[in-house]
């Protein structure tokens, strides 16, 4: 994997922040992808919500447009099928139980200075750091 000039992450991050800002200032909503994905698929407690589906379609569309016209990314997902399935289950279940993920808690909740989001972000970041450490440096490269 090649080194990446910090300009790309900064610019991409800015767009993410602007996207969240747009959804907030116009629609008054938090850009939390786990919540929006649940609404898009009818898995939210309130069921299916069309704005969620429209957002997800936009997200996938934006990714397609960007990878075609701006920058084609390498997408490298390693691990056995079992590991991928377990990770997916944990991410899906955990985000719903924890009321959010990196976008909802990390980008929006923290910007809002929400205690819950600051706590959630610290907890999932810390857990993720430890998980990578254990799988790569204790069990040798999972």
């Amino acid at each position: 994997m090649h080194d990446l000039s910090p300009l790309w992450p900064l610019a991409g991050g800015a767009l993410i922040g602007i996207a969240a800002g747009v959804l907030l200032l116009f629609n008054g909503r938090i850009a939390g992808i786990s919540d929006l994905a649940a609404k898009a698929t009818g898995l939210a407690d309130e069921g299916f919500r069309l704005p969620g589906l429209v957002f997800v379609i936009g997200l996938i569309g934006g990714a397609f447009v960007a990878s075609t016209l701006i920058r084609k990314p390498e997408i490298v997902l390693s691990g056995s099928t079992l590991q991928i399935v377990v990770a997916g289950l944990l991410v899906g279940f955990g985000a719903r139980l924890g009321s959010g993920c990196t976008s909802g808690h990390g980008v929006c909740g923290m910007a809002r200075l929400s205690r819950r989001s600051i706590a959630a972000t610290m907890i999932f970041m810390g857990t993720a750091f430890v998980t990578v450490f254990v799988t790569r440096h204790v069990f040798g490269g999972m």
Binding site: L4, P9, L10, G13, L15, I16, I18, V22, L23, L25, F26, N27, G28, I33, A37, T41, D45, F55, V56, G58, L59, I60, G61, G62, A63, S67, I70, R71, P73, E74, I75, L77, Q83, V85, V86, A87, G88, L89, L90, G92, F93, A95, R96, L97, G98, S99, S103, V107, M110, A111, R116, A119, A120, T127, A128, T131, V132, T135, R136, H137
Partner: protein, 143 residues
């Protein structure tokens, strides 16, 4: 109108995830690998994102309502409760094991890679399990 905003917001978000390379789980695990060849990219992504989301919430606090709705839709929850803590741990585990979280994996579906689709399906399965857990007190969040 609000649907158009949802679409535009999603588009910007998807473009951002792609050009920042957060769509690439290996880039994210590089950031999470503090003891290894550390990749700071995700830190720059958060910095860029929080700059603008921070500005947006600063502006929002000064308003009683957003532009296209009669109120802001924030959770009423304030306590750091057990579901938040446990959910965040589980999420962090899954994120650390893969480098994927909901936004990036949806964006990465555009690569048509089978293992990405498997992760996405498993993620939705995890959400489904949560949705239909028996004895879950569904406290209606006035959101």
């Amino acid at each position: 109108m609000r649907l158009l905003v949802s679409l535009i917001s999603g588009l910007l978000f998807g473009i951002g995830l792609t050009i920042s390379d957060m769509i690439n789980p290996a880039r994210v695990t590089g950031f999470l690998d503090l003891a290894g060849a550390w990749d700071p990219s995700a830190a720059f992504v958060f910095a860029g994102a929080l700059t603008f989301s921070g500005l947006a919430f600063f502006l929002a606090k000064r308003r009683s309502a957003p532009l296209l709705d009669d109120r802001f839709h924030f959770t009423a929850k304030a306590r750091i409760d057990r579901p938040l803590v446990i959910g965040s741990i589980l999420f962090g585990l899954g994120w650390g094991l893969s480098g994927f979280c909901p936004g990036p994996v949806l964006a990465a579906l555009t690569s048509f890679q089978g293992n990405v689709a498997i992760f996405a399906l498993a993620m939705f399965a995890g959400m489904t399990i949560f949705r239909f857990l028996p004895a879950r007190n569904v406290v209606k969040d006035d959101n």
